[in-house]
Symmetry: C2
Amino acid sequence: MAVIRNTKQRQAIREVFEAAGRPLSAAETVGLARRKQKALGTATVYRAINALVEDGWLVPVELPAEPARYEVAGLRHHHHFYCRSCRKVYDIEGCPSDFISFTPTGFELEAHEVILYGRCDKCTHAA
Amino acid sequence: MAVIRNTKQRQAIREVFEAAGRPLSAAETVGLARRKQKALGTATVYRAINALVEDGWLVPVELPAEPARYEVAGLRHHHHFYCRSCRKVYDIEGCPSDFISFTPTGFELEAHEVILYGRCDKCTHAA
DNA sequence: GTCGTTGCAAAGCGTTTGCAGCCTA
DNA sequence: TAGGCTGCAAACGCTTTGCAACGAC
């Protein structure tokens, strides 16, 4: 059984996600983690993220036509808001639910995804 | 101003979308269109699709972690169902609406996307 | 010392682009 | 005949992988 080692690189990556409070892409993670840990290859970040997802510590947040983002696991059921201006993704509380009534007959519903698009508060006020 | 020419290749591609009744990826389009038009490069399909999107004849259907799909324009507001078994995408009628109440204060909502995941009728009955 | 981890560079995958030749209007 | 269109191959951006060196336990 694989033992998971606690390296400086992975430490920095975990800290970045804990501090973020929103989903981060691999590229964002590289940028933020390099502030803490100068020597950090992109392949290392990708491997660390994948390992953390396997461990269940991170959860992938996939948006259409966007590179995958990740956020710490354990959050309540929620969805995401994509700011078209700064391209950041924010968590939003709640869920419109009742998707079963929209499922065509004969189809089996297992999960759903809701994504809102627009401008975040920062970008709205900046304009 | 660019004049759009009516080639065998583009004719075949248009026919494929008209017959599909569901969103098709570029790869699916290549496969289906080659049945009508043997000589057909993948770059040609990508260029034709992009041109048809510019013309407003096709609309992109983007799903998380999936290559872009496209469907003929002019359909009523609707969303999509992704079959995890056959990986096909189906249109679904209706919309749960009322996403404004889930939009955080200060944020500006411009659009929304709803995606249902599960198994289509064919795959449910095949199992 | 073991063996998981790192960084680099190369490979992968889906998509786009450069270019010479082709063919529609 | 002009210039949009095609096919090939090379380039692209993002992600994964091979490999030798490194370092946590």
